[in-house]
């Protein structure tokens, strides 16, 4: 390659909002459900049906706009985007083109190369489409409208990103922010967050943008990274060969690791947008804005600063704990109950993260309550249970959110503090392991570790290892 190229990337991110009902009707947005069971005349496009806007959708959209420094459009409207496709029962999608709810925002991202801002061109509200299932046996597809009408916001960035790393940082920043708002769980794999990548390349130093393509079907950070690298190379190769990049929509195939153009002569890409006459305009009043502003949570940056002031835990821990609002809430609530931030943090940083990784789960999936974690900590503090027992109890708690106190009681896991009983066990261990006793007495200090272990085993972990150690030393004289 003789010339140097720069990649220019903008993102269109669709986020499914965490409302109970669809954007324009009272059908449930719950996942699952038999095909077409979460439907009504509105979201199946029955003749004569009419949409009515779910207020929560507007509130979430404004909340995300405020969190990304957007201007909120005081008089917004919905438009119809007309195109025929079976996943879209009306053959038009209700969206926003002319007066989207939020405009001109930005978010700050951080990569190894430092901090920078990525501009947000606009955020608009729209309805999701149904699901198309390909029938393997017959030459047809099947349509399920359960997802039809689920509310989405589309966040359109400016073409401000220059690398896959920046794209990932931008996505993570947005995701964290939206999760903090509770506006969506933003799961790429499950499709509640979907990113389309607009990408072009140009010679370094060039002022004009190159012709761009839009990449769809990116279901993981890995796929996004991979697709960006692949598309950058593809476009550079074209330019190097003296060919032109065609402005088109491409679909990423993650298994095969390449993309292909989604072209059709029946696809005119002329959406004939016009204001939807069935929906009245939205007018955002000062009161509405104030109400939403008042409900905005403390975001991560502010939270990190506060934790540094309030809690004596390592900065590294703070970084991890504040990754998600769920984890941060868990930390704070548990700490409020037990007053021991460092211990709470240890449980979260250690066992919790380990188990999450093992179960391939996200922090949002944590089920145990702050109350139970606090009670586990106090069981350990009061020496009612030993460390190893606590870990077992925690695993149970992680899986089923059991009450540790009751569980310890029911399963007889309390540490045995009866010295007489313990002495009997220790004496038994000594008589059964004469070699170790001899080793110890012969100066091998380490042999005592084995004897402690044997005692703990005999006690099923329910003894205080310190006490055992002390007693062994005493008996070994």
């Amino acid at each position: 390659m003789s010339k140097k190229y720069e990649t220019v990337i903008g993102l269109e991110i669709h986020v499914e909002l965490a409302t109970k009902t669809k954007i324009f009707c009272g059908c449930s947005t719950a996942f699952g459900g038999a095909p077409n069971s979460h439907t009504c005349p509105v979201c199946t496009g029955m003749p004569g049906s009419l949409p009515v806007l779910n207020k929560q959708v507007l509130e979430y959209a404004i909340a995300v706009g405020l969190a990304t420094d957007c201007e909120i459009t005081r008089d917004a409207k919905f438009d119809r985007k007309n195109y025929f496709y079976p996943d879209n029962p009306q053959n038009y999608q209700i969206s926003q083109l002319y007066l989207p709810i939020c405009r001109n925002g930005r978010v700050e991202i951080e990569t190894e190369n430092g901090k920078k801002f990525v501009g947000i061109h606009e955020i608009h509200m729209e309805e999701d489409a149904g699901k198309l299932i390909h029938d393997e046996w017959e030459d047809c597809s099947l349509v399920d409208y359960n997802r039809s009408g689920v509310p989405l916001i589309e966040i359109v960035s400016e073409p401000d990103m220059r690398s896959a790393e920046e794209v990932i940082a931008y996505l993570e920043t947005l995701r964290r922010l939206i999760q903090y708002l509770g506006a969506s769980d933003c799961k790429l794999q499950e499709g509640s967050m979907r990113a389309d990548v607009n990408l072009s390349v140009r010679e370094s130093g060039a002022e004009k943008f190159g012709r761009r393509t839009e990449m769809k079907n990116l279901n993981s950070f890995r796929a996004i990274m991979h697709a960006i690298e692949n598309e950058t190379e593809r476009q550079i190769d074209l330019l190097e060969e003296g060919k032109e990049v065609v402005q088109e929509t491409r679909r990423w195939d993650d298994n095969k690791g390449y993309s292909y153009a989604m072209r059709s002569k029946e696809d005119a890409q002329d959406y004939r947008y016009f204001p939807d006459p069935d929906l009245m305009p939205v007018h955002v009043t000062d009161e509405m804005l104030e109400e939403i502003r008042a409900k905005q949570p403390e975001f991560r940056t502010e939270k990190i600063e506060r934790y540094k002031r309030e809690f004596d835990i390592p900065e590294y821990d703070i970084g991890i704990i504040t990754e998600t609002k769920h984890m941060a809430d868990l930390f704070e609530e548990t700490t409020a109950l037990c007053g021991q931030p460092k211990k709470v943090s240890n449980w979260l940083m250690g066992e919790t993260l380990r188990l999450l990784k093992e179960n391939n789960a996200d922090p949002e999936d944590i089920r145990f309550s702050p109350k139970h974690l606090a009670s586990l900590i106090s069981l350990v503090d009061s020496k009612a249970i030993t460390g190893p027992v606590a870990k077992d109890v925690f695993e149970k708690m992680f899986a089923e959110d059991i009450d540790p106190e009751a569980y310890v009681e029911e399963n007889g896991l309390k540490t045995v503090n009866d010295e007489g009983a313990l002495r009997a066990v220790v004496e038994k261990v000594l008589t059964e392991n004469p070699q170790s006793v001899a080793d110890y007495k012969g100066g091998k200090q380490k042999a005592i570790g084995f004897l402690v272990g044997q005692t703990m085993k005999a006690m099923k972990g329910k003894a205080d290892p310190g006490l055992v150690n002390q007693m062994l030393k005493e008996l070994l004289g």
């Binding site: 029955m46 004569g48 009419l50 119809r80 079976p86 004939r272 016009f274």
Partner: protein, 487 residues
Amino acid sequence: MGILDYTAVELSEQIRTGKCTAIDAMEAVFERIGEKEEEYHCYITADRESALKKAAAVQRKIEAGELTGPLAGVPVAVKDNLCTKGVLTSCASRILSNFVPAYSATAVENLEKAGAVMVGKTNMDEFAMGSTTETSYYGVTRNPVNPEHVPGGSSGGSAAAVALGECFVALGSDTGGSVRQPASYCGVVGLKPTYGMVSRYGLVAYGSSLDQIGPLTKNVTDAAYLLEAIASYDEKDSTSEPSAERDFTSALTEDVKGMRIGIPKDYFGEGLDAEVKAAVLAGAEVLKKAGAMVEEFDLGMVEYAIPAYYTIATAEASSNLERFDGIKYGYRTEQFEGLHNMYKKTRSEGFGEEVKRRIMLGSFVLSSGYYDAYYLKALRTKALIKKAFDEAFEKYDLILGPVAPSTAPKLGESLSDPLKMYLGDIYTISVNLAGLPGISVPCGKDGNGLPVGLQLIGDCFEEKKLIRAAYTYEKASAKLKEATEIS
């Protein structure tokens, strides 16, 4: 006097007092249908057995004292673009020729609550696109006064059914005059309410920003009662108005003293039939004699209403009719190769010529490069038309004019020249663009005995003024007629 000679309000009084039953009324209606339907063809669906069953159920409720309202037991016809649970709702189109909705329109539900009994579903222009009821997939409806002529449209089936006694009252829909114009052609009363007065939920949309459901009746009293029954604030329709006054029957008083009525000079110029003009102006004279202050004025913008309307209505229609694609309901073509071919064949075979014409035009005016020049220009024109009416209503309580430039044309005359047919909507269309209420009341006949209608137009949500004036006119002209006949 036979049972079919009663108005709806008179009939319910008869039923309430036990002089006849809802079943008798329905029997009489079906007897008339048996006599007339073959020639006039008002209905797409009319099932005697189910109608009688419903009438019997209503009669029991009346006798039990559960239904006491002024429409209890009254047989009503419903235009076939209003969804009726379990009953074919075809919009007079092949593409919906097998569509049986799982729900009823709010207006239809309201009628059921009032105890009215549905006779059946009336013929119309396909998807309400037309002014003659000739574009129906199910064949034409004929004018009740002279079967060589059209009944008007698009609610031609409803208007003719009322005039012929094939029902007592009927529902129509009015996007550019589709209630008022057939009322005028058939010699009945037709009222187009203010946009937002009657819920559009369950009305299969043509031009969503213009459509309203309205009554077609034998007289103004019935119109007020029927409107009072169907009008409601409906949370399912975002364009429904919560705070409107809906006690229309309280306006049934003979009193126009001091009422200011403006006659737009622009409505009486070139193109208006001389006999129609004479009848309408005579009608104005009646209101003047009854105490109204009547004067001519310049409304303005009249010639721009039709081009603005056909841009807006066809654009909305092109989008509204996209849902008819052969996937979820309705007609699907037999043979096709792939998805897009299925769409194209289904829609090309399923829609009639006039519907396709309007979809094409509407798709074009919204397409890339034309949206500003056509669609936005039309919306700006609409704003100016609304402003012209606003100014008029600063000076006048009501506006009076003709409904249509002529009486009912002969069958087959209009369709050959669509533009000419569109021009026939000149006096009704601006009312829809401005969202206003309008009423058509019979005001005489032309030399061939064909009815002429007089139109009164009110400001938004001023239906009561409209009804008061129309009621006063109806009473005064009846007295006048009586007097002339005696002398």
